[in-house]
Structures are given as structure tokens and as C-alpha cells.
């Protein structure tokens, strides 16, 4: 997993609420057995016509936002399925950070496993970032994970919360499985105790 320390980049405004995983990556693209290559189909049905032509109105098709690395989104981003293809597609497109007032639980988890930072902020602050993002390519926002701040293009800064363990993993690009396997003796002894207490499991 790539480390996440600081990021300065273009933020794309997506004010729609309840952007679900079927919008982020429609199911016809879930048939892959790889993690990479999904970026071209990110938001596929909003981004392309049935014939595969780009829809010029869609934010990521506009010249100013083609290189976006941050998405400022409406409430409840990522609701729906557990598909990790959603963060894979975002990442493959180049998105490393999503800001919203709320996220669906599984999507939120999946982001951290893939080096994407989801940031939760109150509505008024999301509104400020959204307006800033609407200014286009020259309005770059900066995310500093160590300091836990996000800053608009004109220097207005907001602090955000992040779980310390997840922050540590993101900052250092750590793989969860490796970390857990360091506790293998705890797992062994749990299994012994549990199978004595609940032998039917």
C-alpha cells in the first residue's frame, strides 16, 4: 500500500447525496480478478453515454477536473455494497482523498486498506471546501495527514479526526495482515480457549 502523508491536488465537487457503490463502479466491472485498471470505469454510467461517449457535463470529464485527486462529496458517500472495487477504481483514477459529512461503514474501512483517506467534516466546512473546489483546476487543496488538516486554495484550514491506528498505517503504508500475524500467539491461545468453551463452533 502506498503511504499517505501530504497531498496537494485538484478537488472535484460532487454535491450529490448518497453516491452509492453502484454509481462509483457499476457491477459489470466487478468481473475482474485483478485490482488494477478500474479507473477508466470509475463513475461509468454518469461519465459515459450508452455508446461509450464522454458526457461533457460530468465533473471528471471537465478539463479542470481530469487530474482530480480529491473528491468533495455529498452526505453518505459510498453506501451500498462491500465491493472494494470502489476504492480500487478511485485509486486507479488518481483519487487519494474523499471528503464528506458521512460515509458508509464498509466503504470507509476499505479506503484505509488502499491508501485513500476519507475525511469526515461538519456540513458548513464541507460547504466551504465544495465552493472552493468549484473554482476549478487552479484551486488546489492541501491535505496534511500528520497535522490532520485540510486547507482550501485560499488558505482556510480545517482540522479533522482520524483513528490513530489507521493514521499510523496510512502514514507508513503498513499492511494489516503483517501486523496481525505478529500477534499469532494470541490467536492460537484464543482458539484453544474458545474451542474448549464452545466446542460446537
Amino acid at each position: 500500500m502506498d503511504k499517505f502523508t501530504t497531498l496537494t491536488g485538484i478537488a472535484a465537487p460532487m454535491p450529490l447525496v448518497n453516491i452509492d457503490t453502484d454509481m462509483i463502479i457499476p457491477k459489470q466491472f466487478l468481473k475482474t480478478i485483478q485490482r488494477s485498471g478500474l479507473g477508466k470505469n470509475l463513475f461509468d454510467e454518469m461519465r459515459y453515454t450508452l455508446e461509450g461517449q464522454e458526457i461533457p457535463d460530468f465533473v471528471l470529464n471537465q478539463p479542470a477536473y481530469r487530474q482530480a485527486q480529491i473528491i468533495i462529496a455529498g452526505d453518505n458517500f459510498g453506501c451500498g455494497s462491500s465491493r472494494e472495487h470502489a476504492p480500487w477504481a478511485l485509486l486507479d483514477f488518481g483519487i487519494r482523498c474523499v471528503v464528506s459529512t458521512s460515509f458508509a461503514d464498509i466503504f470507509f474501512n476499505n479506503c484505509f486498506k488502499n491508501g485513500i483517506l476519507p475525511i469526515i467534516l461538519p456540513q458548513d466546512q464541507v460547504d466551504v471546501l465544495m465552493e472552493d473546489a468549484k473554482k476549478g483546476a487552479n484551486a488546489r487543496q492541501t491535505v496534511d495527514l500528520e497535522a490532520q488538516t485540510i486547507t482550501t486554495s485560499d488558505g482556510q484550514s480545517f482540522g479533522f479526526d482520524v483513528d490513530p491506528f489507521r493514521k499510523h498505517c496510512l502514514l507508513n503504508g503498513l499492511d494489516d495482515i503483517g501486523l496481525t500475524l505478529e500477534k499469532v500467539s494470541a490467536i492460537d491461545s484464543f482458539e484453544m480457549t474458545a474451542s474448549a468453551a464452545r466446542p460446537w463452533v
Binding site: L30, K31, D105, K113, I177, R198
Partner: protein, 473 residues
């Protein structure tokens, strides 16, 4: 010393903590890991690349369901190359890693959340995960069950644990009894209509109350299945006699002394008097009507005898979202729900693909025919549900009514296999998601109970099942 009162969720959680870090992050032991073909290939690939093994293959159960066609001949050949590659990858991974497997050729194959309980893999008090958000279904047994992403699938395969922070406790109580024509599906949809798709975010919901107690296991699974649509990590229902009776005699349920030991443990699985809930929602069972969705979010729920709402009735970002939904759905505000014409009916999915659901639909369809031009299909949740329905004569009722009688799988619930809506087609569906494009690009989905979907198939438009049944609204 008397211990502080705990919720059901607290108790199951406490019994599965392997390690707790200072910041509260826990390593949680996983008793059952269910696997399907769409969210697992990258996880098995990860194991291969790092030379890791599946830690507990005997607790890992795989079944292909999302991609598989539901028409005859699928055991010999799957036309779609990418689907075939995914199913073949699961065949191979199951064999290479030595996990339990129900391939398409096995009569026990079906939707993973139907197969798990049916085979007795899911039992009260367990932790159950699957790379699928509707894992919440298994909460009906008083098991802590939730969906995980593919990285977590790999983590569970390698370590049989999951890194978790505890959620908050939420109680949803349905008091009294349901009225005739009202089902478990209407309960769970009404709750989401009330709390919204974000209402359960950060919580594990325990459903309780008389109306929940009065449900069969099938109905309880329907309720918990859609906890995720309400944003919750999991839904739970405390086990009782109904649960024990369902579990007893299942292929992987304990027997003899182990059964007795299990039973006495299961009887401790309830929320203690005075335990703390962070959020409480109470709904009167008698107030719940048969409901349908009008929009493109599962929270867009209205009673069938109501009208399509106007965007101006909402606030915040939902105003724009509601207008977008109306445009997508091709509906106008103020229109009666019962005036909405449909051309497709889908009965199936892990929400409503069990035997009781098929019985409820067949009861409405008996001696009737679907409206002219209607495309109607029943996709049983598993091969065993299918066989039982054939034995009970339900299959014949569906066929006589003009329904297609398919093989088991997810099918048109998410339309990854050939069963899809075309742009503009409108479907009465017993599944759980009405997102844009969920059942096929441009397809329009109205969610409802199996009886309501069956009634709509006959009428050609949405209809109040109570009128068909001759009971009062």
C-alpha cells in the same frame, strides 16, 4: 460483584476479542467466513503472492452465486467469458486452499446468505463475515455478522481475525403484531424509510419486540438482511425457540452433547435488563403498511396506498437527489403508487428467496395469470429451496401463472449475470437495492415484498396486496 448489564452485541463481541489495543482497536476472532466469486479472487491471489495459507479452512465456506446464469446448462458452460473466469477462479481457489465448497453442480448451491443458514454453518453467538454487505442476514440467528471488503477477506483467510472497533448499540423495537398483508419486508423497509440510509451508520442494530418475536426465521433473515441499507454494520435478533428449532438437525449444526452445550450457551444470548442503547427507535407493528420504494435509494419508502412525494417535501441535499430520482424513475410527484405500470417482476435474492417467500408469492398467484407482456421470473435462493418448492407444488403455480422458474443465484438482484433490465424497463423486485442501474443500466426498480410483487405481476401495475387478499387496509 455483579457485572454491568450488557447488550446481545456486547456479549458476542466480548466472547470474540483476541486482543485489544490501548486505543480500543480489537482483533476479533471470526467463527465462519463465507466466500463468493466476486469479492474473493484478489484475496486468494494475495495469499499466493505472500505464500500464506488459509488459517482455518474448516471454517471457510465458498459458493458461486453472483455471476452464475440461472438457466439450464450452466453447469456445462458459462457464455460470458469474464463470469466464467471468476467462477473457475473460485473452483480452483476452493480446491487449492481446501475450503468447503458448493459448486454450481451441487444441489446445495445458492445465494451465499441462504446457503450458510440452510446448511447449519450459521449458528447463534457466532461471528460471521463475508465479502458481501448482505452478510447482515445471518444476524437473524443472534450471530454478529457483517460484510467486509476484499482486503479484509484476505485478512480473515490468513488470520481468521478481523481488525475492528466496536460499534454503538441501537435498538429497533417493533411492538404489537403486524396486520394481515404486512410482512417482514415491510418492517425492514419501513425502518429504513424512517431512519434513512445513514440512520444506522456506526451502530449495530438489535431488532426486538413482539412483532419480531412473531416472525419465522425466514422473516427474521429478511429483516436483518436490510440492516445494511439502513447504514448499520450489522442487525441482530436474540435467539429463541424459533431459532433453535430452525438450527436443529441442519448438516453442520451440533448434535448430542455438543447440541446440549450449545443450547445452554445460546440461552445466555439476550440483552440484559437495563443494558444501555445509544439510540432507540420504536415502531408500532399495527402502524406498518405494505410499502414500496418510489426512488433510487432504499430510504425512498412509501405506503402502497400513498403517492409519489415531491422533492420540495425534503430538505438539504435530498431535494436535488429526489428530483434526480424522479427523473431517473420516470415518475411525477403526486402520482398514485398504484398507477405505476410495470413490465418485469423479479422474485428472489437473499432478502426474499427463501421457501416462505415463494409460498407467499404462490398464494397470490394460484389460479391467476401474469398481465399480458409481463416478464416475470422466480429465482429460488438455493437449489434446496427450489427442490422443496417443486415438491410443494409451488413451481407449478408459478409456471402456470406465466413465471419463469429459474435455477438458484443472485440473478436480477444485481444483474451481473445475463438477467438484466433494459433501459426504461420497470421492475417490481423483492430484492434490496433500487440504486440507479442496479438491475441493469437505465432499469427502474421498485422494492417490495414477495406477495406485493406477485400481485403486481397479475395486475400489470403496483397494487395493494390487501385488496387482492380481501383484507382491510
Amino acid at each position: 460483584m455483579t457485572a454491568a448489564p450488557r447488550t446481545l452485541y456486547d456479549k458476542i463481541w466480548d466472547d470474540h476479542v483476541v486482543h485489544q489495543a490501548e486505543d480500543g482497536t480489537c482483533l476479533l476472532y471470526i467463527d465462519r467466513h463465507l466466500v463468493h466469486e466476486v469479492t474473493s479472487p484478489q484475496a486468494f491471489e494475495g495469499l499466493r503472492m505472500t505464500g500464506r495459507k488459509v488459517r482455518a479452512p474448516e471454517k471457510t465456506i465458498a459458493v458461486p452465486d453472483h455471476n452464475v446464469p440461472t438457466t439450464a446448462g450452466r453447469d456445462k458452460h458459462i457464455d460470458n467469458v469474464e463470469s466464467r473466469v471468476q467462477v473457475e477462479a473460485l473452483d480452483k481457489n476452493a480446491k487449492d486452499f481446501g475450503i468447503h465448497y458448493y459448486p454450481v453442480t451441487d444441489i446445495r448451491q445458492g445465494v451465499v446468505h441462504i446457503v450458510g443458514p440452510e446448511q447449519g454453518w450459521t449458528l447463534p453467538g457466532m461471528t460471521v463475515v463475508c465479502g458481501d454487505s448482505h452478510t447482515a442476514t445471518h444476524g437473524a440467528f443472534g450471530a454478529l455478522a457483517h460484510g467486509i471488503g476484499t482486503s479484509e477477506v484476505e485478512h480473515v483467510l490468513a488470520t481468521q481475525t478481523l481488525i475492528q472497533k466496536k460499534s454503538k448499540n441501537m435498538k429497533v423495537e417493533i411492538t404489537g403484531s403486524l396486520r394481515p398483508g404486512v410482512t417482514a419486508k415491510d418492517i425492514t423497509m419501513s425502518v429504513i424509510g424512517l431512519t434513512g440510509t445513514g440512520g444506522g451508520t456506526g451502530y449495530v442494530i438489535e431488532y426486538c419486540g413482539q412483532a419480531i418475536r412473531e416472525l419465522s426465521m425466514e422473516g427474521r433473515m429478511t429483516v436483518c438482511n436490510m440492516a445494511i441499507e439502513g447504514g448499520a454494520r450489522a442487525g441482530l435478533i436474540a435467539p429463541d425457540e424459533v431459532t433453535y428449532a430452525y438450527c436443529k438437525g441442519r448438516p453442520h449444526a451440533p448434535t448430542g452433547e455438543k447440541w446440549d452445550a450449545a443450547l445452554s450457551y445460546w440461552k445466555t444470548l439476550f440483552t440484559d435488563e437495563g443494558a444501555h442503547f445509544d439510540k432507540v427507535v420504536t415502531i408500532k407493528g399495527e402502524d406498518i403498511a405494505p410499502v414500496v420504494t418510489w426512488g433510487t435509494s432504499p430510504e425512498d419508502v412509501v405506503a402502497i396506498n400513498g403517492v409519489v412525494p415531491a422533492p420540495s417535501e425534503f430538505s438539504g441535499g435530498k431535494v436535488v437527489a429526489a428530483q434526480r430520482s424522479l427523473d431517473y424513475m420516470g415518475l411525477t410527484a403526486g402520482m398514485k403508487l398504484t398507477d405505476i405500470k410495470i413490465d418485469t417482476v423479479f422474485i428472489g435474492s437473499c432478502t426474499n428467496g427463501r421457501i416462505e417467500d415463494l409460498r407467499a408469492a404462490a398464494a397470490i398467484l394460484k389460479g391467476k395469470k401474469v398481465a399480458p407482456g409481463m416478464r416475470a421470473m422466480v429465482v429460488p435462493g438455493s437449489g434446496l429451496v427450489r427442490a422443496q418448492a417443486e415438491q410443494e407444488g409451488l413451481a407449478q403455480i408459478f409456471l402456470d401463472a406465466g413465471f419463469e422458474w429459474r435455477l438458484a443465484g443472485c440473478s436480477m438482484c444485481l444483474a451481473m449475470n445475463p438477467d438484466q433490465l433494459s433501459p426504461g424497463e420497470r421492475c417490481a423486485a423483492t430484492s434490496n437495492r433500487n440504486f440507479e442501474g442496479r438491475q441493469g443500466r437505465g432499469g427502474r426498480t421498485h422494492l417490495m415484498s414477495p406477495a406485493m410483487a406477485a400481485a403486481a405481476a397479475v395486475a400489470g401495475h403496483l397494487v395493494d396486496v390487501r385488496d387482492v387478499m380481501g383484507v382491510d387496509a
